[in-house]
Amino acid sequence: MAEASCHSPGSTDARSGCETVVLVGNPNVGKSVVFNALTGTYVDVSNFPGTTVELTRGRVGEHDLVDTPGVYGVSSFNDEETVARDIIVSGDIVINVVDAVHLERDLFLTLQLVDMGKRMVVALNMADEARKRGVGIDRDLLEDLLGVPVVETVAVDGKGIDNLIAAIPSARPGHADVELEHDIAEMVAHTGTRAEALLVLEGDAFVSERHGVEPSDTRDEIYLRRRHRVNDLCGHVITESTQGASFSAKLSHAMMHPLTGVPLLLALLAVMYVVIGQWIAGGVVGFLEGDIMNAHFVPFIQGLVGRAFAPGSPVYTILAGEFGVLTMTPTYLLAVILPLVAGFYALLALLEDSGYLPRIAALTDRSLTSMGLNGRAIIPLILGLGCITMGTLTTRILGSKRERFIATALMAIAVPCSAQIAVIAALMTKTGPGYAAAYFGILMAVFVAVGTVLNKLVPGTSTDLLIDLPSLRIPRLDNVVRKTGMKVYHFMKEVTVFFVVGAALISTLQVTGVIDWIMQVARPLTVGWLGLPPQAARAFVMGFVRRDFGAAGFFTMNLSDAQLLVAMVTITLFVPCIASTMVVLKERGWAYTVGLMVGSIGFAFLLGGIVARVVGVA
């Protein structure tokens, strides 16, 4: 972490003139763009994880610059705030990036930093957006009232960045809440720094424990006063010359009300299906997997490995066999997973940047609440359609353990991933439309049923929806590309190891004959109970390796339409692929994962058998 920095984190002695500058701001104010403009490096410390909270550092002039995750306040509310809190406390100078369009929201954090006594500079970002919407901000007055330098910036265009850099030496503490002075003076004797004194007064348990004091219960009063100061400030510095655009207000309304919102959402899903399901999953994946990987890469690797180990030997099979670590894993990761994940992250970035995403959350809140979740859960669920690993990692944004429990289970059981959907769609086009409709219907019913049951059984309380609805706007392409790139990079970094280990495990099972044994044992189940040919057992086992293999296994079996329905329903409800299972293991633990595997296998076969009897196949 500290290659060429001025001093190690936490220490207070530094070379003169070399200090640590910390970048702080609410989510989505353009902080990463400011970071890039200041340091020349692209980094993204974003709030939709698929990553752990990471620190990003750079240099601006003589100083170290550290970025923090977007937070609404400094305390220990969630992982992002905990990380931000410590960086801010130990930083020398703070650059607080605020969104000129949403000053009433952003100044809350600003005033908290002022109360903490940090030397700071405020970057009033998106100044152009504000002007476009007729929002006038009196920069001089804001500077006077806050007591710190305020620099207007349009970070995406690089405007104001030089002024911002020039203002860093003039960073100073602002006009703090006078009513706090007495209490802070007393507390500083215990905590050492003013910033931590304030945090103790605001009831932060961690900081209090660190200094051996009791956290105060004065947070609500302090917050209330701060909120009034913000409102007062805004009343003085903001002048609005025109009313908000009525078209965007109408569109916002239409997105959230079921009558118009649901058709809009369905239209979005249809577009998603065409772009991701057909162009990407069909076209791009087909090309990469077939024409490049299977035609050239795999034979090449097999040739190499074949020189050291005899083809058919255990080592050869594990490395370059059907599920080989060096053949299947790179093929799956690069040709199938990568394009699909990139597509889904791009979709999410578009939805996020345009402001549609929180409105989808508002639209779906009612339905999700009946399953123990709230509107926010729509984000991991959408990503789960891409890849269950993506969705599971993203459950980190949910507010309670209970919600994470329910959302993970729902995805593992009832949500097919895009790799699987592509194959299933190809198969279902050959059947009558009634069967395709039946498949969707059954899946939806299972989704709702599982959610409702879990809501009744899982102990604990879920959180309610409370989200900011930013203004609707045309997404900026550079934002979307940048966000997508970073998320894809971090995702691949995090999950590659699971796919590699998974392939190694499966190959070992194959080599030791365990797979063949499982298929034998499962025959009565697949033939007698599900009414499918005996080879179906192989497809189910394949489904554990790669979900698309599982579905594809049914291509060559010449099943009747009814049998196909049974097969598709069962394979979808079946366990997720081994890589996803390992991610679930990492996020939720052993007990949960074992319970989930047993539950989903049992449930998949149970429902498959019922469907088989209903359509007369068994």
Binding site: M256, P358, A362, L363
Partner: protein, 98 residues
């Protein structure tokens, strides 16, 4: 009843209409689109802190801009819009203005 009508009735009956501070308190989920309200209290530990940061504090005057049927309420404070889940709305006490 609307203020105009209330004043007419009051003049007839020689009673003064109730001042704002005395008007009944209800929960946010009873508020219709277009009504302006004052937030009295947020009776939810977890939400109160977040709400404060967003600007939905005790004493804040906001407008209800959208009510999603059986779903969240959207309130507007300044230029900022916040969606509040229906269950949470039931735990927020407000007082109608105007």
């Amino acid at each position: 009843m609307s203020d105009a009508l209330a004043i007419d009735v009051a003049e007839t009956l020689e009673v003064t209409p109730a001042p704002v501070a005395m008007r009944p308190v209800c929960s946010l989920d009873c508020i219709r689109k277009g009504e302006r309200i004052e937030i009295i209290s947020v009776n939810d530990q977890h939400a109160r802190v977040q709400a404060l940061r967003f600007g939905v504090a005790e004493g804040a005057c906001v407008e209800c801009v959208t009510r999603v049927p059986a779903g969240p309420l959207v309130i507007k404070s300044g230029r900022q819009e916040i969606a509040v889940g229906r269950e949470l709305a039931k735990r927020i006490s407000v007082r109608r203005l105007a």
